[in-house]
Symmetry: C2
Subunit: 406 residues, 2 copies
């Protein structure tokens, strides 16, 4: 039988796509006694399973059989109606109406929809350096070119953003995660948020604000989203993966009605609609006022894990790194200080050594749009391990680093 020559047939865009470097690491995570600091995973022990059981009973009474029928691409009306009150919480302060929200299958699908909407092959988009790997994957399918915005311990540097917009006026949009960024855990402070908002309004640019973590804050006060400061210039993303469970696959975007209508048109071709039942789970979760209690519970569990990770790093790692003491979210970022450049460290070697000792973390380079700009760095997740395991894992990584330095 003839064999189809697959590689001659595929679309050109496949050349710009590659699998996540994290995936192989995550495969290790299932091993017994393995300390996985690699995934961006919440702790399943914290999942509100009994709340979900309660929500299922409510859905059965409220919706009957109809909840299992084909649904509207826009989203379940009851969810769209309750979301504005969720979005205006002090961690977002986003003003939305049911007409300016599109429901997506997690916020990952929102990234694909935005890419489909705006990116022609070769178009420029600006991203933080480093940025969320999954966003790069979603965008790469549409063959953009990236410009990297410089960051420091306070996240995106507004001056760098302005320089980039001046130098590349054709950039289609800026992609940013202002709060508890993935991978760095950094927060852009209020003053910078105001500056960034002013810049995007001044130059009439569109900013895609990804915000999966802002509800999960351990310290400090909530900050207004960039969307709340420059609504006409922002597409704001949200998800219930961290505040309910990842499996619910419900997220969405807030945007102008024009962008939202186009998003719905695109989503229709992608997968018709997002499960109404899962949207009803989120709707009843918000209506039943379960969210605040659940947030308190997970924050109580995750906060000491974060502190434990930060302090263990200070204790076990050599003093040649900058370490984020994240105020929220899921990650601590460790990167080599520029004035410690004389210490030549090989990240692949470190990954190998620690994997051999049953500890996993994610190297930093895949999070850079242009990997040649990558510093020696690592992303460490603290939400899915006990404090005991976190300290043990960090001790093992620290000891491996010390050996590499010898």
């Amino acid at each position: 039988m003839a064999i189809i020559s697959f590689s001659n047939m595929t679309a050109k865009r496949l050349k710009s796509m590659s699998g996540s470097a994290i995936r192989n690491l995550l495969k290790q995570a299932g091993k017994k006694n393995f300390i996985a600091l690699s995934g961006g995973y919440p702790d399943p022990a914290c999942f509100p399973v009994s709340i979900i059981e309660e929500l299922r009973r409510k859905i059965k009474t409220k919706y009957g059989n109809d909840i299992f029928q084909y649904g509207k691409t826009e989203g379940l009306t009851d969810l769209l109606d309750i979301l504005p009150s969720f979005l205006k919480r002090s961690n977002r302060r986003v003003v939305a109406t049911p007409d300016t929200i599109a429901i997506t299958c997690g916020s990952q699908q929102a990234l694909t929809i935005i890419a489909l909407m705006f990116i022609n092959p070769g178009d420029l988009i600006a991203v933080e350096s480093p940025t969320y790997l999954g966003a790069l994957q979603a965008f790469n399918a549409f063959q953009p070119r990236y410009v990297e915005i410089l960051t420091d311990k306070d996240g995106m540097i507004p001056g760098s953003l302005e320089n980039i917009i001046k130098k590349y006026p054709a950039i289609k949009f800026i992609y940013a995660i202002p709060t508890f960024q993935n991978p760095t855990g950094r927060v852009i402070p209020l003053r910078r948020r105001i500056e960034i908002a002013k810049i995007i309004v001044k130059y009439n640019k569109l900013l895609v604000e990804d915000d999966p973590y802002s509800e999960v804050r351990y310290e400090g006060d909530h900050l207004p989203s960039i969307c709340s400061l420059a609504p006409a210039n922002t597409i704001h993303l949200f998800t219930f993966s961290k505040t309910l469970v990842p499996d619910v696959r419900v997220g969405g975007m807030v945007a102008s009605e024009e962008i939202k209508n186009t998003a719905v048109l695109i989503k229709q071709g992608l997968d018709l609609f997002t499960s109404n039942y899962n949207q009803a789970l989120v709707s009843e979760y918000l209506r039943g006022d379960y969210l605040e209690g659940h947030l308190k519970k997970i924050i109580k569990i995750y906060r000491p894990r974060k502190t434990c990770m930060f302090e263990s790093i200070k204790k076990y790692f050599p003093d040649i790194f900058e370490v984020t003491n994240s105020q929220g979210g899921m990650f601590v970022w460790v990167s080599q200080l520029t004035d410690a450049k004389k210490y030549k460290l090989n990240i692949e070697e470190l990954v190998e050594k620690t994997l051999a000792k049953n500890v996993g973390f994610v190297p930093g380079f895949p999070f850079y749009a242009n990997q040649k700009n990558a510093l020696f760095s690592m992303r460490l997740n603290f939400t899915n391990q006990s404090e005991e395991s976190i300290e043990k894992g960090i001790e093992i990584i620290g000891s491996a680093i010390h050996k590499l330095l010898k």
Copy 2:
């Protein structure tokens, strides 16, 4: 505040995308006393809700909290393990292993993944004339050009397929729904399936076989899928929207490992993974042997509705149409006989007249890749209305046609 000039910013591909012509019609369907023959909807009264309750209890015991965690892009292992036995049922006879299956968010997402994998702007793809509107929507985002394969009452004409392949050797793939096609309800008979399989093997072409309906057969014997006759040249799609519930959003594709691996890579960027909980619902549904009983139940309900619709059309429509007496699936297709061309009928006028009388159906033209080839035609759904309503709806449409002919 500056307003972003949205239309100057969007990607070129948006020009080739438009909303489904069906959507506005479906909006009417919620009205009281409206007889909707328009949607491709199963009857919610037939949904196996008590089975789903039972499956939920099983999932709780079997998986605990872990089912709500992030999942693998490939799909839930337990589902991948049980699917080969589902796929080899006599309505498909598809040979698969867990390594040759990729799970998608309904089969609609599989269409998008295939489009992303193969279509460069301007590439040729061959589709049946008419074909599934949702497939055209999924493909359009990637700017293909279409070649239409001629069909008759037995579906795709193999000679037309061969002529097209000879004339356009560059076509990337052929898209077809061989069994109970949407919109026509037609079935390609075994002899033609064998011919089609021979042609795609002879010319080394790839065929995308969409099969959402073959389990739901009212009359006649199951036929082998084209995938079973030419496996190396076929991507075979399946879904549980019709056999469990649409809201479960679980479908998938069977393909070579190379294509499957590429599909997984693409899906990762699109939405990371399909809900594991919903995959577990399907897995337990198949493992618990609920499928055969449920199929018997819905076939018993849908078969007389189909017969009622076919006979009502014969009774109330003028004798200038070809009507599919579907052996399965959800649709009856009515199209003007070519030797009745002297009767000039306007489909938009008919839609308007019947909507005014609270009856909805879908005009045929949106199902043609090149709408200038469209005959005066209509797609009528019989699964979501009682026999009484079907007869009443058809009588109203028939009477409107008679008036138009005067």
